[in-house]
Amino acid sequence: MEPTSPSKNSPFPGPEHQEPQTSVPAAASPWKEAFRQLVKNKLAIVGMIIIGFFILIAIFAPLLTTYTYQSMSAADRLQPPSSTHWFGTDDLGRDIFTRIVYGARISLMVGFFAVIGALVFGSLLGIIAGYFGRWIDMIISRIFDIMLAFPSILLAIAIVAILGPSLQNALIAIAIINIPIFGRLVRSKVISIREEEYILAAKAQGMKSGRILFHHVLPNSTAPIIVQATLGFGTAILEAAALGFLGLGAQPPTPEWGRMLSDSRQYIQSAPWTVLFPGLSIMLVVLGFNMIGDGLRDALDPKMKS
C-alpha cells in the first residue's frame, strides 16, 4: 500500500516511491494524489474490505457451501443456526447461508448496472442543463420534473406493473428512476459553479463551451456526483430489495435478499434468524459502498483536504 515516506505530500515523490511515474502525464497527478488520500482513509478501507468480501463470496459461491439455494428439506424447517446450517434454515428447510451467498451475486449485479446507467445519462443531462441554462435547461428540467414527479419506488412499481415482475425489469426500472436524481444534483452544482470567477475568466480567454465543461465544470462537479453515485449504489441495491420485498422483483426460488425477508417476515418471532441475516447482508453491502464513496469524496475534493 502506501509507503510512509516523508515525500508523500510532494508532487514529485522521491526515488523510494514504488509507483511508476514515467507513463503518467502531469495532468493525472490530482487523481494519483486522490488515490493516495483514499488508501489512507480507514473507513474507505473497511468499505473496500466489505465489498471485496462480498465480491469474493459472489464469485466463489458454489465452493462455499454443500447445499444448493433451492434444495428444500421438510425435516429441517426453521432450524436455528448450527454447525450444519450456519445461518439456520427457512420455512421450506432451505439453508439460509447458501441463499445469502448466492444472493450476493444478484444484489451486486443489480447495483452495478442500475448505477452505471443512471450515472451516465443523469450527469450528462444535468451538466448540459446547468451550464447552458435558458431553454435547454427548461426542457431538461421539465423532463426531470416529470420523471421526479413520480416518487422513485412508486415509478419503479408502475414500470414493473406494466413490464411484469422480474429481476431484469426491476433493474431497468431502478436505472430509469435514478437518472433525474443525478441530473438535478449535478445541475444545481453546475449553476453555482457557473457564477464563479474562474469560469468567467475562461470565457474571457475565449475558451469553447465544451472545453470549459470538461476541464472546469466537470472536475468541480465531481464531488457531488461521487457522493450521489455512492448513495445511488446503495439505493439501487435497496430499491431492488424493496421491489423483491413487495414481490415485484426476483421471483422464487431466486435467492434475492429482499424477497427472502418478505417470505420470512411471518416467522420473525419464532425464527428471527430468517429475517436477521438477509437484512444484515443488504445493510452490509450498502454500507460498504457508502464507506468507499465517502472516502472517494474526501480524496477527490481538494477543498475538503485538511
Binding site: 412508486l154 412499481i157 469524496r297
Partner: protein, 333 residues
Amino acid sequence: MLAYTIRRLLMLVPVLIGMSLITFSIIHLIPGNPAQTILGEQATPQAIAQLEEQLGLNEPYLIQYFDYVGGLLQGDLGQSLRTNADISREIWPFLAATIELTIFAMVFAVIVGVNAGIVSAWKQNSLFDYTAMLIALIGVSMPIFWLGLMQQWIFAQELGWLPAFGRSNPRDPVETVTNFYLIDTLLSGRPDQFWNSFRHLVLPGLALGTIPMAIIARMTRSSMLEVLRSDYIRTVEAKGIHQMTVVYRHGFKNAVIPVLTVVGLQTGTLLGGAILTETIFSWPGIGRYVFDAIGNRDYPVIQSGILVIATMFVFINLIVDLLYSYIDPRIKY
C-alpha cells in the same frame, strides 16, 4: 422574483400535461388487450366488450386522452373497477394518512439530520462527528422494511411499548373531519385518542424518517464543510463573533442549497415511497391504495393514485426552486 414565480407556474402546465400523458398511457402500455388483462383469462367476450365500453377503449387515442383530461379538469379521477366508487372521493382518507405520516417523518428527519450535520461539520473529526456519521452511514444503508420489521418485533411484539399496526384503535374509531387524525382527535376533544394516534405514528414515522434523516445529515455536513473553509467565515471569526452565530447564521445559510434539494427530493420520495412502511405497519395510505390496485388490476385507481401523488410532488419541487433564489440572491434566473 414575481416574474420568475409566474413563469415557473406557467412552466408547470407542460409538466402537468406530460404527467397526464404518462398516467394516461399506463393502461395502453399493458401488453396485449387491456380489458382482457384486467378481467383475466376466463372473461367472456361480452364482459370484455362491456369493460372496453366503460373505459372508452374503443375510441381513438386522441379522443380518449381529451376525455381523460376533460374529466381531470373537472375533478373527475374516474371510478374504481373494484368498488365502483368515485376515486376522487375514495382517495382522500388514504392520501391524508400518507401526508400525516410523511410530515411526521420529515419533521423528525430535518430536525435531527440538519443539526447532526451542522455539529459534525463544526466539530469535524471529533467523537461526535464520528459517531453521528457512523449512525448516518448505517441509517443510509438500512433497508427501511427491515428496520421497520425489527422495530415492530422489538418495540411492539417483545417489549409491547408501541402499537405495531394501523393508525388508531379500531374499537374506538376516530371521528373524521380532515382525516388527519392528530387534528381530528383534537377537534373532537379527545386527547386520549390524540395520544393514541400519536403512538401509532411513532414506529412507522421513525422507520420512514431514518433514511432521509441520514441523507440530510450527510449532505448538511458535506455542504457545511465546504462553506466553513471559506474566507468570509474566517473574516467573521476574526471579528470575534460567537461561534454558534458563525456556524448557524453565516455558515448554514450558505450551505443550505444542497440540503434544500435533498429535503425537497426526499419529501416527494416519502409521499410515494411510504408504500414499504405502509405495508409493514398496515398503514392505510396512498402507497398501499395504489399497490393494492396493482394486485387487483384496478387500472383507473393506479392511474389516478400515481397522478395525485405526482401532482403534489411537482408543487413541492416548485416551492424548493423558489426558495433557492430567496435564500441565495446570487442565483439569478
